[in-house]
Structure formats: structure tokens, C-alpha cells
């Protein structure tokens, strides 16, 4: 057994008393862990369910983009979330997830990672993780969510082809120590559980401060594209809907929602 082996029994033991991870499934190979998680959407075990896989044949990113991963190199998982009345649990789900992923990556990475708005984790300017969150109504009419998360763990430089050669990296490449995917998984599930197991305790101000600090965002200069136009300015806040608030160079303060805005460039403040 290598350090890279995903030890599901050890993960089950570590999350035995947690809400996130109360049921854990493992597939050596699947089309996508999100698809596997959705199979449980109308069951009692959906909320807190975690599905791991060592390989995905149709792993997907945003809008059908392919999520490439060599077998056993990434940590690939999906988490089922339902039954939350606190609107923050849905509205800020993307932010909550990336904060937990960033926290986990920070623990295992010798280089300080940052967050590219809204939910990519980067180190040395290269992408380390991907998040795809899907939301549906289940048969009883409740809106339920699946958090799909991929973290590059054991890849070496030769694993990244084409554009990924200069845009992607892994924990192994950024650490002086061997990476244990099991330890990464346990840390991530605990970080998610800390925020999602008790959604009534979620605090918008805490999440906002946490995200702004992890993203090194306050004072950073960014250029965004919105409705075909580029806008440059300095980040001054996340608003109550988790939109990015800029002090624009052309004057004024404006909030940009992630749904219809893309980040063109970002320079961190001193």
C-alpha cells in the first residue's frame, strides 16, 4: 500500500461522528462522482453522502469542460447536501466549498495558495483544484446540491499535457513531503463538515472575511469582463450575494456577480 492509496476505511473511521461523510461510497472508476452522488438524491442518506473515485471516464468541469485526471493521481469526490433552511448554505455554497478546499491545500502545500475569484485555488499562479456544484429539486420538491471537487495530488509535471503544462500543478509538485490522499480527504471532509453540518450557524460576515483573506483580495487590482465590456478596479468587498465589489478606475463602486462575469486578470496588492 502506497502513501497515495485512498484508504476508505480510514476515512470512514475519521468521519464516523461527522455529518459530512456519514455515508461514504467508493468507485474505482465511474463516469463522474457527481453522477454517482445524484443516484442518492431521493434517499435518506443523500445529505452528507460522499462519493470518492480513483478515475472518472467523463469527469466534467464548468459547461461541459473535461476534467482530466490520471487514475489515482487526484482526489476526486462529490458531497451531497440537502435539507438546509439557511439561505447562506445555498447562496454561498461556492464560497464555503472553496474556503474548505483552500484550507486543505494550505495544510499540505509548502507554497501559500490563493483563490482566484470565485472558486479556483491556485499556487504559483497554477490551478490546483476544480469545483463543480450542481443543484436540483428532488422528488419531494426540496432543492438539493452536489459539490463536485477535484484536487490535483500526485501528478508530476509530465502528467499535464498541452495548455495544462503551464496552467496546472499538484500538491506533490509543491510539497517537500509525499502526499497522502487519505489525509487530504480527511482534512477536506472535516473542513466542509465544520461549516456545512450546522448551517444555521453559518455567518455571512465570517465567510466574507475568510474568503477575502484567503484570496488576498482586498486591495487587489482586477480586470473583469461583464456583458462584453472590460472593467478595471480595486477589490473592496464581497457583497451580501457574494458578488465581487470593485472601486472602478472610471469612478464609482460596482458589484459583479460571478454568474455573468469572468476574471481577466488579477494583481495582488502589496
Amino acid at each position: 500500500m502506497t502513501a497515495g492509496h485512498l484508504n476508505i476505511d480510514q476515512i470512514r473511521t475519521a468521519t464516523g461522528h461527522s455529518h459530512i461523510g456519514q455515508r461514504i461510497e467508493y468507485k474505482a472508476e465511474t463516469s463522474s462522482t457527481n453522477d454517482e452522488a445524484w443516484l442518492y438524491a431521493d434517499t435518506d442518506s443523500f445529505d452528507g453522502l460522499v462519493v470518492f473515485a480513483d478515475a472518472q471516464t467523463a469527469g466534467r468541469g464548468r459547461r461541459g469542460r473535461i476534467w482530466q485526471s490520471h487514475r489515482g493521481a487526484s482526489l476526486l469526490l462529490s458531497v451531497g447536501i440537502s435539507g438546509h433552511e439557511n439561505p447562506l448554505a445555498g447562496d454561498w455554497l461556492s464560497i464555503i466549498t472553496v474556503i474548505a478546499v483552500h484550507e486543505t491545500i494550505s495544510r499540505f502545500c509548502d507554497t501559500r495558495p490563493t483563490i482566484k475569484w470565485p472558486n479556483d485555488v491556485l499556487a504559483d499562479g497554477r490551478k490546483l483544484s476544480g469545483i463543480l456544484i450542481e443543484s436540483r429539486q428532488n422528488q419531494s420538491g426540496a432543492r438539493v446540491h452536489v459539490l463536485g471537487i477535484g484536487i490535483n495530488c500526485l501528478q508530476h509535471q509530465g502528467h499535464f499535457d498541452g495548455p495544462l503544462a503551464t496552467s496546472a500543478t499538484s500538491l506533490e509538485l509543491l510539497s517537500r513531503h509525499p502526499i497522502d490522499r487519505t489525509a487530504v480527504a480527511i482534512h477536506l471532509l472535516h473542513a466542509l463538515d465544520q461549516r456545512l453540518a450546522c448551517p444555521e450557524s453559518l455567518n455571512q460576515q465570517t465567510l466574507r472575511n475568510d474568503w477575502l483573506a484567503k484570496a488576498d483580495a482586498l486591495g487587489a487590482r482586477v480586470t473583469l469582463e461583464h456583458n462584453g465590456q472590460q472593467h478595471s478596479g480595486t477589490i473592496v468587498d464581497l457583497d451580501p450575494t457574494a458578488a465581487l465589489v470593485l472601486q472602478l478606475d472610471e469612478g464609482g463602486i460596482r458589484a459583479f456577480n460571478a454568474a455573468d462575469t469572468s476574471l481577466v486578470s488579477m494583481e495582488y496588492g502589496s
Binding site: 420538491g141 463602486i253 454568474a259
Partner: protein, 156 residues
Amino acid sequence: MLDIEQIRELIEMMVKNDLLEISLRDGEEEINLRRPNQTMTMSATEMMAQPATMVAAQSQPMAVAPPAAVVKDDEEDLVQISSPMVGTYYASPDPDSPAFVQVGGKVHVGMVVCILEAMKVFNEIKAEVAGTIERTLVKNAQAVEFGQPLFLVRPQ
């Protein structure tokens, strides 16, 4: 002059109380905050050279947003399927797949009609009415607002 924290508190208060407009005047300083159709416009004569827009301020939290609203259109005897949130409309699950629904196609209650992306969450939206799609009112990848009509359906 109000700082960003005070403006944020005002915005939160407006969202919480579903207020559409607040005006504050203190001597020469004047601030107006408006939220027409979930689009918030903010101007302050001393703070900024030109009005700025606070886009996509949702008064209806996504997690508790109602299902796609069905509103009867009296003029055409059609019903609307409206957006339950601020987001980006996608007609298909991914760019290479066919649209969930097409004009002339049948829909049934519970059938997925589109995806709305909000804060990087991809939300499947289901029909609450059975019938035939008469018109699609938005384009793929278009930004939509809370309550904006997406489809007109001729009910069965």
C-alpha cells in the same frame, strides 16, 4: 461620507426589508440606493463621478427561492415559466448537447427546461406546467433576473 462598510449595511438592510430605494442627505452629501428588479443602482454625488450599478443583488436567497414561477399570461392564454433567481441561462446541459426543450416541444411537470448558473452553482430548473413550448424568451448564456420570463407554454 459613508464608508464601504456603512454602504454594505444599508444594502443588507434593503435586501432584508425588501426596500427598493433609500435616499440619505447630510449637508452637501447625498446618497441614493435603488433596487429596481433586483438591479441596484447607487449614486452619491460626492463619492463618485458617475452612477454605478450594483448588479445581481438577490432579494430572494437561492436556497429558498421558489421553483420556477408559473404566471398566467391573460393576453395570450399562455403561461410563463420564470426565473427563480438571478443567474445565467443555459439551454442545454453542456455546449455539445441538445437543448432541454425546443419551441413546439412538449413539457411535463417536473421536466428540466434549463440550467441557471448563479455563483458557480448550476441549478436545474423544472417545469411546473404541462404543455407545449410556444416561445423561448431568452438566449443561451444570457444573464437573467429574478422573475424574468424564460418560456411561454401553451398548457394542455
